[in-house]
Amino acid sequence: MSIITLSVWDLLATSSLILILAAISLKQQFNLHKQLIIAAIRATIQLFLIGFILRWLFGDINPLWLIVVALVMLLAAGHEVISRQQRPFTGSFGYLSSVLSMFLSSFILAIATLSIIIQPDPWFSPQYAIPLLGMLLGNTMNGISISMDRLTTTAWQQQQIIEQRLMLGEQSSEALADIKKDAMRAGMIPSINGMASAGIVALPGMMTGQILAGSAPLDAVKYQLLILFLITAGSGFGVYASLELGSRRLFDQRHRLRLERIAGGS
């Protein structure tokens, strides 16, 4: 099996579908056209850029450059998390806590998987390291973004309930427990859905790509399973870490609710 190379025209033809969708959005006033087109352009530029970077990295295995690329990916993921929050934490807390949470989950899991399980030679071989880290970061980023958004918006909406619970002498962790549980659930739904529907409802993107590129289906399945377990665990640990940090930030040492630490709170 050899891969059929795509031409520029193939991509232009498929991208016109996005334009049609944007036209519909404009006509129906869904107000999605701008976001759609900007996201499509961003995807094109970013993917070609990483394509060139990977081509260059594959030729020159220098761990230093790998670290630079990995850090850029991490910082960009942190930026994406905070840019889609309805009520983000004020100051740099939101950014720093999500970067830390993603570092703790995605980075450590990626390093462990490369050095213990896949074991390419050298273990930081970019062909394995970059896609693996990218998958982990992307999914963890989504989970953290959803759960942080849920945590802060619900805390803001339920301010009076939280305060009533505090008045009755509950610890801040008790007063926030239901909200935190709900935020954890919301952040985990995409990964759990991804595992539960894999193979029945949808062929996961990575496996599809590998099969299209000519891999044997069972090899693709094994890699896909590895990735599914990793991204679910990775986003779970990441969401958990960010919720621990975020829920502490909502209170002070005297167990007082500090909504002024989120945007729009008072």
Binding site: Q160, I161, E163, Q164, R165, L166, M167, L168, G169, E170, Q171, D178, Q253, R254, H255, R256, L257
Partner: protein
């Protein structure tokens, strides 16, 4: 008011636009508090319950607020707001123990109300239950922020009786915010007015110190 032990004392308490406030809460007494809306009554109550930042010292039976864990402090110095909030589905889940049947009768609530769903209760029932929910924590001081605003005359009097009995039996103290001078006459042994963040003695006829 003479010879009665002091339960809570407040010295130079300042929070937001309120203060400095000096106030002592004698055992078995209830202090009435009134004042125009926006004068800072709720701020004062929240500061005493340590729900918002404040400066100054608050001492409960010899213990300074900063030396007590915040949740413990709030169980002992209970703020009861005008509108109660509920988050579990049934009434009973909000209580640690079985609700005292005598108190239920005193507040004319059905004995089986514990099993009822919260969203089937009227605001008046919820408010009366909220008072029992707070008393269950055995507070030493009650900070009542217009606790009977949602109640009719009969239930208002029932709540007043339950609180009065609690203060006497448990040797506790209270601060009662109300806009109704008649109510303050019934419950309070001393009344104060909060004006521009400062406490003033308010002489309501019929209350003797």
């Amino acid at each position: 008011m003479l010879f009665s032990t002091v339960i809570l004392s407040i010295e130079k308490l300042c929070s937001l636009h309120v203060g400095p406030i000096n106030l002592t809460f004698p055992a078995q007494h209830c202090i009435g508090l009134s004042g125009p809306s926006g004068c800072g009554k709720s701020v004062l109550l929240k500061a005493i319950a340590d729900l918002i930042d404040s400066s100054g010292t608050i001492t409960l039976e010899g213990q300074s607020c900063i030396n007590v864990e915040a949740p413990d402090w709030r169980r002992k110095v209970q703020l009861i707001p005008a509108e109660s909030l509920w988050w579990h589905s049934t009434v009973g889940e909000h209580f640690q123990h079985q609700i005292n049947p005598k108190q239920l009768t005193q507040l004319s609530l059905q004995p089986d109300i514990e099993q009822q769903a919260v969203n089937q209760l009227s605001s008046g029932q919820k408010q009366r239950l909220a008072i029992l929910r707070s008393l269950e924590k055995k507070p030493r001081v009650l900070l009542l922020d217009e606790p009977t605003a949602s109640l009719d005359t009969d239930n208002t009097k029932r709540v007043e009786a339950v609180i009065k009995e609690y203060l006497t039996v448990k040797n506790a103290s209270a601060l009662w915010v109300s806009h109704d001078p008649e109510q303050l006459k019934r419950v309070a042994t001393k009344t104060l007015k909060l004006m521009n963040g400062q406490l003033e003695v308010d002489h309501i006829e019929g209350i003797s110190e």
